[in-house]
């Protein structure tokens, strides 16, 4: 709620919030100018997790970059993998087989559910709804188990490869997903009845951190923050990639652009993502998951150990990297927090000449001052929570 200051003598207080603050679950610092409890100005200081992602990628081969992308938004590393692989494949001019595309859609949506559950669960528990936090972490844990069963890792998965996938789905995948989704729907129903009409939660969330439609577009916001203002811009619908055009799903939009709408948008997106996964599993075609092009695909182990050509081929791909033709391209996917774009420049060698990530939460932090001006210090907690700033992606 907008704070009304009575006519009292006052002076402006400067407060530094962070970089290691219980409410900033990510290393970031807010330099606040306060008039009492009211935020007059907020200067966001970031970069505490800067590790030179772009520069590191320029030293690695195209394939070695994939583990780096895991560490961008580590709540949805599968989407980062898919986004990067799509950008490089666009430069190569390769299109993966249908089964690979369906599996990529399935894993992207699982990662999106993971991301939204993290965001909503954390934001709710920071506002005192710790039960909801636990329910959502329980649901997230079930998604993590599916991902672990599929890839062998819980967070930094490195599942997608340029031109394919590490391996096909395990046999019991569909059954596991069906069982998990039943439980997640029940848990989300509980969370919904606990929170969505809860007076305390509503007071903290609704009409807080409001940003108008025009201002959101002006600040280049994407993802649930933009959709909460009523703009139905979703890359999966606007510029369909993979097989999203064959899926039947809705893009939830809000109307006020406040934290409550962002929360509801994310909750509804979890349901839509579950629908997409179920459709994709139903339509999943049979076939290979790798493109049929020996220039980009590692040979079978029998060939590597059984023939000199296979060994040389393996050695070349590992030591020199796959040879991506010279050029530049931009490819975007819908990440958990918004448009996750990869701008790739190749000079024709085995390493990227330049790799740029468009980080959605870095850009959202640019609009944070606009969102929080005029509200109270305590409103920073839900507003920052609903941005879902992930240090790995924001600071790169």
């Amino acid at each position: 709620m907008k704070a009304e200051s009575p006519e009292l003598p006052h002076e402006i207080m400067e407060l530094q919030m962070g970089p290691s603050h219980p409410a900033t679950h990510g290393t970031i610092k807010f330099n606040l100018k306060l008039e009492g409890e009211k935020v007059l100005d907020c200067d966001v200081e970031m970069g505490f997790l800067h590790r030179g992602f772009d520069k590191s990628c320029e030293q690695a081969t195209w394939t070695q970059v994939i583990p780096y992308t895991d560490r961008l938004n580590y709540a949805s590393s599968l989407i980062n993998n898919v986004g990067y692989a799509l950008a490089v494949e666009k430069l190569i001019g390769a299109e993966t087989p249908p089964r690979c595309q369906y599996i990529r859609v399935i894993v992207s949506e699982l990662a999106r559910i993971f991301d939204h559950l993290t965001c909503c669960g954390m934001a709710a528990s920071e506002l005192g709804a710790i039960t909801v936090g636990f329910y959502m972490i329980e649901a997230r844990e079930m998604i993590t188990r599916i991902i672990e069963n599929l890839t062998g890792a819980r967070l930094t998965v490195t599942y997608v490869r340029i031109g394919g996938l590490k391996h096909d789905l395990p046999e019991d995948f569909a059954a596991r997903v069906a069982a998990t989704f039943t439980t997640i729907r029940r848990l989300l129903g509980d969370c919904d009845s606990l929170l969505s009409r809860n007076r305390i939660f509503l007071d903290r969330m609704s009409n807080v951190g409001v940003i108008s439609k025009e201002s959101a577009l002006d600040h280049s916001l994407t993802g649930p923050i933009l959709r909460a203002t009523g703009v139905d811009y979703d890359i999966r619908k606007a510029f369909p990639y993979l097989v999203y055009d064959k899926m039947d799903f809705e893009v939830p939009v809000g109307s006020h652009g406040d934290n409550y709408d962002r929360f509801l948008c994310r909750l509804r997106e979890i349901h839509e993502s579950m629908r997409i996964v179920e459709q994709a599993l139903k339509q999943l075609p049979v076939g290979p998951v790798w493109i049929d092009d020996p220039r980009f695909v590692l040979p079978e182990k029998e060939k590597v150990y059984g023939s000199i050509e296979g060994l040389m081929h393996h050695f070349k791909i590992i030591m020199e990297g796959i040879q991506v033709p010279a050029g530049e391209t931009y490819s975007a996917v819908e990440g958990g927090n918004g448009e996750l774009g990869f701008y790739v420049v190749s000079d024709g060698g085995g390493k990227p000449y330049r790799l740029r990530v468009r980080p959605p939460c870095f850009i959202a932090m640019g609009a944070f001052a606009e969102m929080i001006k005029g509200y109270m210090v305590a409103d920073i907690v839900p507003t920052f929570g609903m941005i879902n700033m992930i240090g790995g992606e924001c600071d790169r």
């Binding site: 970069g47 666009k90 811009y233 774009g341 701008y343 330049r354 740029r356 468009r358 640019g366 606009e370």
Partner: protein, 187 residues
């Protein structure tokens, strides 16, 4: 270009001589714009109802050191939400005068993105309201994404010392002395 897509042809007709070249690699629409009068070109791209590239998606830069002239290229990704089209705009920036017009008057979102380009590439944006470093700290020297910045060059913010108290390098020692001097002045 005779075989340009209707969309790209349309942009070329509208902007005319401001476009230095246009191409369509991998089906993307890419134009190369003149650095002079850049903000006006973008204003036209944004506000012309036929073009309406009203959404600025990204700003970044590429360093083509010892490969081509001009050395830098600033790359903008625009989206037209009404026409569902993308457009990539590239602007060449020479090393001797690394300045381009800031787009902050047109899009507030350009603020952080331009600060990042300044931080990592050292390209200045004229009329930017608050051109400070963003990912790195103020004391950092150089711009690390330039190709002539060595990968393994360390600039520790806190002086590095071994367990026995000796300094890892001379620079850290100087830095600590400087810090102590400034602290002594304050107290």
């Amino acid at each position: 270009m005779a075989d340009a897509s209707p969309q790209l042809q349309h942009v070329q007709d509208k902007l005319g001589a401001k476009i230095l070249s246009a191409s369509e690699p991998q089906g993307d629409d890419v134009i190369m714009l003149d650095r002079a009068g850049l903000r006006d070109s973008f204003r036209q791209l944004k506000e012309d109802p036929d073009l309406s590239f009203n959404f600025l998606s990204d700003i970044t830069a590429v360093d083509y050191w010892q490969r081509q002239e001009p050395r830098f290229e600033v790359v903008y990704q625009l989206v037209s939400l009404t026409n569902r089209r993308r457009l990539r705009v590239r602007v060449g920036v020479p090393e001797s005068d690394p300045v381009v017009d800031s787009l902050t008057p047109l899009w507030s979102g350009a603020n952080f993105l331009e600060r990042e380009v300044w931080d990592l590439y050292g390209i200045r944006f004229s009329d930017h309201p608050d051109l400070r470093r963003i990912l790195l700290y103020d004391e950092f020297t150089g711009h690390p994404l330039r190709k002539d910045y060595p990968v393994n060059l360390c600039q520790p913010r806190v002086p590095e010392r071994h367990v026995d108290g000796t300094f890892v390098d001379e620079r850290s020692k100087n830095k600590l002395q400087r810090l102590q001097k400034t602290l002594a002045k304050k107290h």
